[in-house]
Symmetry: C2
Subunit: 187 residues, 2 copies
């Protein structure tokens, strides 16, 4: 058992478990039997709750998406400055990476293992990225015509910071990306 699980409900225990196992080993590298053993859940409960491993993967991404949104909402509350609101995303990426031992972006990782356009995994990835961009666009709406271009640039920095963090197993790249975003938006 990697860690103590908080929920008594099998579905939630499974989602907590794969949130640890998938980033650590890769999605396809982790079998059903390992998942249920670590979660302490019967195999029938997994198939009762999700129906298939692929559906479990999609649920895992949707749960991550929901968590990210809630965490962002909480973190951004009371932050009035538009630039700071954007930079919150970078700060949250640092915290999240440390929790998951620098395994990069959960969504891009899933897209790597389940490529192919139209795939439900790809759609979950797209939904998350669209939401992130929408938050930045919201924060930067005051820049008028310039704001869309700024969102594009912030995304380059954000994605680059996370990719570098993964490769280097260090928070330095995301910290640098944050600084570059700050400079970009302060000008």
């Amino acid at each position: 058992m990697v860690t103590a699980l908080s929920s008594p409900r099998p579905a939630e225990r499974l989602l907590e478990t794969v949130s640890l196992l998938f980033p650590l080993h890769g999605i396809r590298a982790v079998g059903i039997d390992q998942i249920i053993a670590e979660a302490g859940v019967a195999k029938a409960s997994l198939y009762q709750a999700f129906g298939s491993k692929e559906a479990l993967v999609v649920a895992y991404l949707e749960r991550q998406d929901a968590t990210d949104r809630a965490v962002y909402r909480a973190a951004v509350t009371g932050v009035g400055d538009p630039v700071d609101r954007v930079l919150v995303s970078f700060d949250l990426a640092v915290a999240s990476a440390q929790r998951r031992s620098y395994r990069g972006c959960v969504f891009l990782n899933a897209a790597t293992e389940f490529p192919g356009p139209g795939h439900p995994v790809g759609e979950a990835v797209e939904a998350h990225r669209a939401w992130v961009r929408a938050r930045w666009a919201e924060a930067l709406a005051g820049r008028g015509a310039e704001s869309a271009a700024l969102v594009d640039r912030v995304q380059i920095l954000y994605d680059g910071g996370i990719a570098g963090m993964k490769a280097a197993r260090s928070t330095a790249p995301i910290a640098l990306a944050r600084e570059m975003a700050r400079e970009l938006l302060s000008s």
Copy 2:
């Protein structure tokens, strides 16, 4: 058969084949039987040449690394301006992405599927990234003390452009990253 293979040698045919299949479907998603069928090679030849699937994966990364180095060397020949020499990397990323239908960075993808520090796949990834950084450092050596920091920033932009290209299945992000790198280095 995805495409006509040029080499008659089994090892080379296998490497050409997985260079197409791995980015397209993911490494773990492609089985040995599919590889040898597409390559038109006997299974014994695969194990004779590489010994295991994992060794084939490492050889695939090393071949990609060698190809990238040769292509970069050729592309940079005669380019005198330091900034342009750095930007060549971005231009090559565009071309390479189009060939592989926007599947992102071969090395980061492999690191996603074979995580874990010390793993031979991870070492191949690290070697490639170090080489790329060394080329940029070389080009920017004239900036003196500033050059190391510039390399770090270029890497953020480069990684971000490639990640965005993969997610959006478009060259727009890498083109934007190139422009941001140009602005960074022109200041």
